[in-house]
């Protein structure tokens, strides 16, 4: 530049050094994260922990606004919606009849069995306070954290189905990695056939089913529940239903209402028991030696057995 040659320029070399240092800083942070990821992730969750709860008050009006816009949009398809609703209502009546019958049956069976649900599975409830903010990351932030005893890896549900698992805990907040995230892998069981599969998020609303044994045994509509393999989740949590995507691959339509995640339950899992012995021989318990001699009948039997064998 002409101006630089005219008068002695002290600023631009210094600037260049400054920019160089900033570049080194960014690269350094990136490499540090690549090398020592857990520590940097902890810094990340502490930063979110410090910043996000302060802006919670802003989220309420914005959320309301979004709901109003959505409501307004729904007016446009009022007629079609009305017709659909009427048909749905008809179906619902049939379902209600079925549900009432099932309820009576269930009550009888419960009374008969005196079943209690697993008392170990207690839960902490939290409110969703922030999104991941990036279109390529599917995770949310909830307002319970280490203070409430939340631990990494616990399962998170909404009222109905599995939503994701805890991945990153701050003091007052915790990040929930949703099942739709590309890094989410959950072992599941597909119910009527009992097949095991892996539920793989791929950044779409319906995650993929992978590692299936026999695709022929699976039909769209089958229920998918968590299998508890690997001790990650308690088994039997509802995940969703099998559906076939437009690309002919098997996917899972999630039961949890991902459009409206507001309150979540974090299930307190307990470490699965690990079998670490080799397994001993099954030996009948050793009785103390009998004080009296065996009676002659038994001795005869034994000799007869021996001769029979020979």
């Amino acid at each position: 530049m002409a101006r630089d040659r005219q008068d002695i320029d002290y600023v631009s070399p210094l600037r260049r050094i400054g920019v160089g240092l900033l570049i080194v800083l960014c690269v350094g942070v990136f490499l540090l994260w690549r090398i020592d990821s857990p520590r940097v992730e902890r810094v990340r969750s502490e930063l979110l922990d410090a910043v996000v709860p302060r802006f919670e008050w802003m989220s309420v009006p914005v959320r309301r606004m979004g709901e109003m816009v959505a409501d307004f949009q729904s007016y446009q398809r009022l007629h079609a919606q009305n017709r659909d609703l009427r048909r749905e209502l008809q179906q619902m009546k049939a379902w209600r009849e079925a549900a009432v019958q099932l309820e009576q049956q269930n009550a009888k069976l419960l009374a008969l069995n005196n079943v209690r649900l697993d008392p170990k599975l207690t839960s902490v409830s939290g409110v969703v306070i922030a999104d991941s903010g990036s279109p390529f990351r599917q995770s949310i932030l909830i307002n319970v954290g280490a203070r409430d005893g939340v631990i990494d890896g616990w399962a998170t549900m909404d009222g109905l189905g599995l939503v994701g698992r805890i991945s990153g805990v701050g003091d007052n907040t915790a990040r929930v990695l949703l099942l739709t995230d590309t890094t989410s892998r959950i072992p599941v069981t597909i119910l009527p056939s009992g097949q095991r599969a892996m539920l793989t998020g791929d950044n779409t609303a319906a995650p993929l089913l992978g590692f299936l044994d026999d695709v022929a045994l699976i039909q769209p509509g089958d229920r998918v529940v968590s299998s508890g393999d690997g001790g990650l989740f308690p088994p039997g949590l509802l995940v969703g239903q099998v559906a076939q995507g437009a690309d002919q691959r098997l996917r899972v339509r999630l039961s949890a209402d991902y459009e409206r995640l507001e309150f979540l339950r974090v299930l307190r899992s307990h470490a699965a028991e690990v079998i670490d012995g080799e397994g001993d021989l099954l030996i009948p318990p050793q009785l103390p030696p009998a004080p009296t001699l065996p009676d002659p009948d038994e001795a005869e039997d034994q000799s007869a057995d021996a001769s029979g064998d020979g």
């Binding site: 990136f30 989220s59 959320r63 903010g133 390529f136 995770s139």
Partner: protein, 179 residues
């Protein structure tokens, strides 16, 4: 008393910081958009480019890093990488700021679009080299295109709301040097 030019510079820097903060919070607020669908534009990046090409002094390199490094952490991206990309983009645009003053707006727009696409390619390359999970290439490119598409809006906002124009030929800075 602070001289008016310094006060103006710092108040614009504070304004930039506040705008980025508001946009970042808007992105963090859970609005219920589910997975799938098209990614929205990166408003923060578009705003930053518009400001750098208008008044580079109001968006110094240290401010860029100070803003985008925490953003990387908060938006759950690879920390440092996003900040590095934005820093390189802004430095590139800053070098061409004098040039872009002579360009019509359409060429400036094209310049920004190309730079954003190159930044996306670079980030994808680095993520691939480090065996990190990459966002799908197609969606990432679409996002950059959307960002470029809202760039004129960011410029309108910068010019008519923030009152930032490109320096006119005779304008001088705080020390009397020509801009």
């Amino acid at each position: 008393m602070i001289d008016p030019i310094t006060a103006r510079t710092w108040s614009y820097r504070a304004l930039f910081f506040a705008l980025v903060l508001v946009l970042a919070i808007a992105r963090l607020i859970p609005t219920g958009g589910a997975a799938g669908g098209l990614p929205g534009p990166d408003l923060i990046l578009a705003l930053t480019c518009a400001w750098v090409l208008r008044r580079p002094a109001y968006v110094p390199a240290w401010l860029v890093v100070a803003v985008f490094l925490p953003l990387d952490l908060m938006l759950h991206q690879a920390p440092g990488l996003g900040a590095l990309a934005v820093l390189l983009v802004t430095e590139f645009l800053r070098r061409r700021q004098a040039l872009s003053r002579a360009l019509p707006f359409s060429l400036e727009w094209a310049l920004v679009a190309v730079v954003l696409l190159v930044a996306v390619a670079g980030m994808q390359l680095v993520l691939g080299l480090f065996f990190l999970p990459r966002p799908p290439l197609g969606l990432d490119v679409i996002r950059a295109i959307f960002t470029a598409a809202v760039y004129p809006l960011a410029v309108l906002f910068t010019v008519y709301v923030c009152k930032l124009r490109k320096a006119s030929p005779g304008e001088v800075d705080a020390l009397g040097a020509r801009l």
